[in-house]
Amino acid sequence: MARDDNLFRDMYAEHYPAVLGYCLRRAHRDNAPDLVSDVFAVAWRKRATLPEGEFVLPWLFAVASRTIANHRRTLRRRLKLTEKVRGLSEGRQPGPELQVIQRSEDAAVIDAVRRLRPNDREAILLSAWEGLSAPQIAARFGISVDAAEKRLSRAKHRLGAELTRTEKKTNVTPRVAKEGGTR
């Protein structure tokens, strides 16, 4: 068990920033440290069976994804009004919950990625923001590397199409966006 403890310490030190970044990009910054702690608490309990090498990080991201989802469910339960107007709120929960610490010139691409399917969105964000490779993304989703590559390729093409469509409609230019008016 001492070996597992030492491995956990090393893993914690190596991956804490990446998991913090993942949570900061997807949850409110006030909650991110607590979410990261929950992720590593799960990892601690399962330290004897953690994946090895490059596959630890996708495993941690998968735990983080579930932790954030649970956190959101808890938040929703706390909102009495949501309960009161359950019928009204159907289909009106916040959309793709991306962290939006963003510069205004990035709004168009953030807007486009919000419109992707959830799995496509997660795959492309794991690649673009978390720096995961195709084998790591495959491990995250439990799919083959070939399937992960196809999913990533599809997500890129859809992102390109969404971005083109958005910018054609709005005629957004970086100069206008940088003035704080993102419309």
Partner: protein
């Protein structure tokens, strides 16, 4: 480079947290502020005390507990480091004055004046309840019968930090008792706001917009359609004056429908 690859490249550069380690600087700052407890061996690269804190002598444990409690509060509240504004700024000498003036302008409905106090490259914090467009939000909120109620003060752990209780108080939120208030943080650099973490409005906005869409689908489609407008809010409609006016006009009916 084709369209897909260009879009991907833009997504890479739009990473909101390119360097997560900078967020851990907060812990370093807090430790510096608690210099009277310096003897405690804390690894500031981590937050989990079970792994990184060397157990101090028994007589100091109460001090460590107090320090840890304060640190957790500070990190959890998102206190941010801010620097004093530049000399000669007409708003005031302190970051708190800048933030207060920002909200005064917001509540006056003057988006241009409010945005003049915000860095063009400002960052907006907020994940689950993200706001995509600050100027749009200012214009969106103006038609409502209410205001942004804030109480701002320098945060306790060092000069230059600004922390605010920030609540969107409207006739609807008051009547329904919807909690939209929470501690929020600002970073002010050289007299200009560079980072804002807004509160959670979704408990109000979500149900109100759903009611509006159900009550007046044509009106909703005309005023709050995302078509041709970017960015959209997390609810799929734009934060702008037109949509805000439409929703504000239905606020009383929405409250009445809930018996509020």
């Amino acid at each position: 480079m084709n369209t897909a690859e260009r879009a991907y490249a833009r997504l890479v550069t739009a990473n909101p947290i390119p360097d997560p380690e900078r967020f851990m600087a907060t812990a370093v700052d807090i430790e510096a502020a608690l210099s009277d407890l310096k003897e405690v061996d804390v690894d500031t690269k981590t937050i989990n005390p079970n792994i990184t804190v060397t157990k101090p002598p028994r007589s100091r444990r109460w001090q460590v507990a107090v320090a840890a409690f304060i640190a957790v509060l500070a990190i959890g509240g998102g206190f941010l480091v801010a620097t004093l504004p530049g000399d000669g700024d007409s708003v005031g000498d302190a970051p708190t004055d800048v933030v207060n003036e920002f909200f005064d302008r917001w509540n006056a409905g003057d988006a241009d004046a409010a945005m003049a106090l915000v860095d063009p490259d400002f960052s907006m914090g907020g994940g689950l309840f993200a706001v995509a467009d600050l100027r749009g939000l200012i214009e969106f909120s103006a038609p409502f019968d209410g205001s942004m109620e804030t109480t701002c003060s320098p945060a306790p752990l060092g000069e230059g930090r600004v922390s605010c209780d920030w609540e969107w108080s409207t006739a609807g939120t008051r009547a329904l008792g919807i909690p939209t208030s929470s501690g929020r943080s600002f970073t002010v650099t050289d007299g200009i706001i560079t980072l804002i973490v807004p509160p959670d409005y979704t408990a109000f906005e979500g149900p109100l917009s759903a009611f509006a869409e159900s009550d007046d689908p044509a009106g909703y489609a005309g005023a709050c359609s995302p078509d041709g407008v970017s960015p959209v809010s997390s609810f799929g409609y734009p934060h702008n004056q037109r949509c805000g006016s439409f929703l504000a006009g239905l606020e009383a009916a929405f409250v009445a429908s809930l018996g509020g």
